[in-house]
Symmetry: C2
Subunit: 256 residues, 2 copies
Amino acid sequence: MIREITSTANPLVKKLRALATSKKARQQSNTFIVEGWRGLSTLLTQNSPHYQIEQLFITPNWVNDPRLPTDLDTILLPNFVFEKISDVKNAQGILGIVRFSTPPFKFSKTAGHYLLLDSIRDPGNLGTLIRSAVGASYDGILLHGDCVDPYNPKVIRATMGTFAFADIWSITTDDLDALLAADYTLGITTGQGGENLYESTFSNKHLLAIGSEAHGICKTLQQRATQHITIPLADTCESLNAAIAGSICMFQIKSH
Amino acid sequence: MIREITSTANPLVKKLRALATSKKARQQSNTFIVEGWRGLSTLLTQNSPHYQIEQLFITPNWVNDPRLPTDLDTILLPNFVFEKISDVKNAQGILGIVRFSTPPFKFSKTAGHYLLLDSIRDPGNLGTLIRSAVGASYDGILLHGDCVDPYNPKVIRATMGTFAFADIWSITTDDLDALLAADYTLGITTGQGGENLYESTFSNKHLLAIGSEAHGICKTLQQRATQHITIPLADTCESLNAAIAGSICMFQIKSH
């Protein structure tokens, strides 16, 4: 059941544009856009309780593609309309509106590894950190402070489909204090003077905090840190990219 | 000695635009653009034999800045002209034309760690890998196949000033064979079935190869690989971002 839209003035096209560019539009509707077959096919096969594809939008080259589900509301767009919405050069010509639910934050009282991101602003960094956290079998990603919206299309793209397997929560400082009260340790990375990452041991109830690209770790987290971790660096390199530092730490922590 | 340019039609402005957008223009002139104070100040203090600032371009807010060197040809641009050249949102208003020299490829016969990049196309990935390689004290970065130009402004920006400390060479397959003939081992990353990165040992003459984002490691390198390295990943994550995988491996290899 494929419908067709031929004009950029169609309200559905306007809705797509709003979802592509506005965090408010995504939050108010509890929907976001997933562009490209990798992310959509992951959602189709995985049957996530948190994500449901509501509508598919395709260009003409997809019309007879056998991979398309037959039971989904599917809308055909001319290429020039699709390009107005797409966030990508050389778009594949397929995207979906996906409904998300945000269950209340909960955590394991007995063991867990969580990535705690503090005001990460770059969509590529957030998406890459989600991908690495899923790869390293982390139990969840906690967004603290003023992080970029995880449903921003650039974030979703950088996760390369792994967002479907990630538990992502926005948490308050009270949530953080509940974790600490449950004996979670809080490790923050520091340029100098901390424990050498490669010579450290880590508790099995561990929060790894990565600070904002511009301002590092905020005071709230610094005051609560129970472990300072240093990745040994050459003098000629002041710091690593936030996604790199976080990924190196996650994989090292999980390798023991 | 500050000169002033007031029109985008000025030949110097056209030259800047060409350097910002054209690999050919950079290669023919052996110059490239470094934007922002971090990269420029690194070059000014470091006195690199390979990089020399030829001209500075500033916006009015920089005119009386005491950090500016007095012995450099400095050109004042109105903000609207600077914005036409700048590659950045919220530009700082300072950039330089920098001359580079490319010494012939040479390597240590006794010990060395080199990052070998195979057709890395994303400027952010290349710049981030250069930054990590400098941070991990790697001895050089070898570009093989069809890599993005390392003097692309987006690459330079992602290195966060560390390009000034990196030895970067474009190498041929003959150069690679010379390394292997000198008993360098060649490690390539593979999704499954290789040695676990965290349980492996590495020779002190080691090449770490990272493949292109789209196509992985090319046949030429696959055929010559002496070590297959696997970063253990959850089933839900097919692969890591190329810059992440390369950085995790470099730091792990150097941690022993």
